[in-house]
Amino acid sequence: MPVFNFVRRSFYRDSVTLMRVSRDVERVPGVTSVAVMMGTPANRALLAEAGLLADEGAAAAASDLVVAVRADSEAAAVAAREAAERALLARPVVGAASAERPRTLAAALRATPQASLALISVPGPYAAAEARKALARGLHVMLFSDNVPLEAEIELKRLALERGRLLMGPDCGTAIVDGVPLGFANAVPRGRIGLAAASGTGLQEVACVIAREGEGVSQALGVGGRDLSDAVGGIMTLRALELLAADADTEVVCVVGKPPGPAVASRLAAALGRIGKPVVVYVPPLAGTAAAVIQPSSAVHLAHTLEDAGRAAVALARGKTPSSPNFTLADDDVQALVAAALGRIRPSGRYVRGVYAGGTLAYEALALLAERLAGVPVSPAVAGPGHRVIDLGDDAFTVGRPHPMLDARIRREWIEKEGRDPETAALLLDVILGYGTPPDPVGDLLPAIRSAHDDGRVAVIASVCGTDADPTPRAAQVAALRAAGVIVLDSNAQAARLAAAIAARAGAAAR
């Protein structure tokens, strides 16, 4: 069988590496033996002895690499040489022990070229530049960061569309993509309901309702709170709807939005009609907005609350007609809760005061309060007479400070403050669980809750957004709240309704 030598001038590898390569290359079909060696006199002698030295190899220098092959054809020998050179130039497999933390996206992608999504939560002023880099390098982006300028958002979303990628956010607290929980996501089962949501807590509330009702989520895509504004034009919402329409796992689509701008509303309505799957839409029904642009139809179900949206999606997935009860408790039980609360609150108490971490939840509470009480402001506020809801997750509170879902300090202060106010009758709270949240959010709030409940004699009403599969299980958090005298209802909507009922009665009594 013929022997072939290939010489690569001026090329060094150590003998251990070369022996490994020799062994691996012998697997090439048609090859019977291979020796890859530096062309030192001693090695050339070894090759000669093994009958593997040809003229080319004999003329090699000590600094040259010799690939000596015995093969049944020249083609096989050339294949062996190519395999050897590939192996010698390949990047070695790096041991799993390497725990380097790259400093830049560029370095991370050099080390992990298979990365396909960037989760960006750097401070706002830097976020757009990082997102731009990630999109340019072909990654999907979840932009958790807030305080990203509107112009940057528009530019990034156009770039994403151009590159066929998702830009979720900015100020996108949650997403679940192919079952990968991003940001503050909850542990919900995978299933057949696909979500497109403006921002974090609305998506979380709907996903948790779906999980509680025994269904699961196919995709949960966050699009950012400004996406449906006319300025942004709904770029990502429309893209998300296309993806959900095409997604084989998604049977029902659920849109959780902010009130759309007039121009976007008609485009959104058209897009909803094209999906070809049952659609549920929740848009906070705020006074003075053009929410009515999206009309219910046989395919589009308009939900009144986040909970209704989740329940409706589940019903439609099961081929049933959606229903939307005000409470999941019996009426008598609700009346008993109201009576008990009225029996212990102080006589001066007459208003609902909400202290929220979740923005969408705060808006939902305001809308439900406004349906039942007079003088409810249209948006969260820190002061003002009468009823009010404060959103501590708003950008205004998070510049240079951690979000209240991560650090309970600011919320404790406000709970204590509202608890001390003699006109507070019902204190309304949200508790948000999921990946990324602290291990015991209720425990972090309890000192302030106790002071409001015991010393301030206000009724404390809360809902816990989460599942029992979350890192901090929901059931234990609910139990801890109840042990402190807090009334815990199944959803934020129900909690708001109960708070309104208590305040209405307390206000009437005070007058």
Binding site: A118, F144, G436
Partner: protein
């Protein structure tokens, strides 16, 4: 499905998100993210402008990088600079970016005057100083003459230089013969012993080395350097393995041509007694390998790093032969008995060409024996240094592989953008010259390249 199968997530910002993904079993890379350019919004905006041209830049960098790592380096000769560089009389080459006589540091000025005396252009330092002041002796950077010089980097016409040929790209690099330790011209020592050694190098050692190399037909240096890297040399601070390998390759040829027995013996003793003998050869190789990478339009790859004891200068592939300078840093190091930081001159020399091609400080992980010069010292510091350098390098060297890093290539191809974005400057291993002329070397250590050179280059790149 939206993501490809086996998707990995990159998380930058809140560390808890990466930790949560890891907890649920999603492969995730958590960045050690910091605000780009240390939070300097002007520089961040410039980086943003380059990001818009990223495709063109990446293409150019790919080309420049392959021109940096795919070259060959064959040590073919040792000849007087007059012949090899066509260096005119009354010209003194020095290390680093161009610098006027008035701004030169004392050791470099002393070395210039000593070289003039050695060449016989003036009888004493005063007369030599007059020649320089009058412009009768020209001062030019080695780098402008296809050469590199360690520390003061002085080269004049009669000094023999090693000739390294990069046949792949038809370039040559040159450097003088390393003088050894102690009182030597490169560290600014100027007494009679210095001149006597220079004369011996010019009249006996140089010609013998040249003849031996020609007899041997040259020595391939990239394989030799790759092997030395595996033997614990990073080829800046430590050259004992490379010097030994070179001696082994050199001596048979020299023995064959060396007619006068005592001349061969003197040369053999000289080479055997100098652990840093290979440094200048590595530098000449570096020059031959790095020059072809220069001149690629749009490339942000650094092709020169050099210091003259006053300024640190770089040149960048896409910016041609322009120098970008900033004040040079002091070396953090260990000192010989009797000396300390107060005795040190600011950093000096063209030897950072070694880092430019991915060795020296960038390959610290290959050289645990000299790792005590960085940080707390030891293997972990050495590996951390190379890992840090990977952040600012465009690639990993296909030939210079580091066994202690699972055979990964040494980081190579410093990118101006990455340096400015991370604030990580190249780590350079180096010797320390005494600040007072005539003393010579006082220690050794590591120095950081001056960030100002890179920000100046970034401004030009974005302009």
């Amino acid at each position: 499905m939206i993501l490809p199968p086996g998707a990995h997530v990159v998380s930058l910002g809140l560390e808890l998100f990466a930790a949560e993904l890891a907890r649920v079993g999603v492969p995730v890379v958590g960045l050690d993210w910091r605000p780009p350019a240390g939070g300097d919004t002007r520089l961040a905006a410039l980086l943003g402008r380059l990001e818009e041209r990223r495709d063109a830049i990446e293409r150019a960098n790919g080309r420049a990088l392959s021109q940096l790592v795919d070259g060959t380096a064959r040590l073919i000769d040792c000849r007087p600079a007059r012949e090899a560089l066509e260096l005119a009389d009354r010209t003194v080459l020095h290390a680093g970016p161009p610098i006027a006589w008035e701004r030169m540091c004392p050791p470099m000025r002393a070395a210039v005057l000593c070289a003039i005396r050695y060449e016989g252009w003036a009888a004493n330092d005063d007369a030599a100083g007059d020649l320089v002041a009058r412009g009768a002796v020209r001062l030019e950077p080695c780098h402008h003459h296809r050469a590199v010089g360690p520390m003061t980097g002085i080269i004049t016409a009669s000094m023999p230089v090693f000739v390294v040929e990069n046949r792949a790209f038809a370039t040559r690099g040159h450097a003088t013969i390393n003088e050894g330790l102690g009182k030597v011209l490169r560290f600014g020592a100027t007494d009679d012993s210095v001149i006597a050694r220079l004369r011996w190098l010019a009249t006996e050692a140089g010609p013998l080395l040249g003849a031996g190399l020609r007899e041997a037909g040259g020595i391939e240096l990239v394989p030799l350097m790759a092997q030395a890297l595996r033997m614990g040399d990073e080829m800046h601070q430590r050259n004992v393995a490379a010097s030994s390998l070179l001696a082994r390759a050199l001596m048979p040829g020299i023995a064959r041509v060396g007619g006068r027995h005592h001349a061969v013996a003197r040369l053999a003793e000289f080479v055997a007694g100098n652990d840093q003998f290979f440094l200048n050869v590595a530098m000449a190789a570096g020059k031959a390998l790095a020059d072809p990478a220069n001149g690629v339009t749009d490339s942000t790859l650094v092709t020169t790093m050099a210091r003259n004891g006053t300024e640190f200068g770089i040149r960048v592939s896409g910016l041609g032969h322009r120098w970008f300078t900033a004040p040079v840093n002091m070396v953090e190091g260990l000192y010989f008995a009797g000396y300390g930081p107060d005795d040190a001159n600011p950093d000096m020399g063209d030897s950072a060409i070694v880092e430019t091609i991915g060795l020296g400080g960038l390959a610290m992980g290959a050289a645990p024996a000299v790792a005590r010069f960085v940080g707390a010292g030891g293997m972990a510091s050495a590996l951390a240094a190379t890992a840090e350098m990977r952040e600012i390098a465009l690639g990993e060297h296909p030939h210079f592989r580091i066994p202690t890093l699972d055979d990964r290539g040494s980081p190579v191809g410093i990118d101006v953008r990455l340096v400015v974005e991370t604030g990580i400057t190249p780590l350079i291993n180096t010797g320390i010259a005494g600040r007072t002329p005539g003393i010579g070397q006082v220690g050794a250590g590591v120095v950081r390249a001056s960030l100002g050179s890179f920000t100046a280059a970034l401004v030009a790149l974005a302009g």
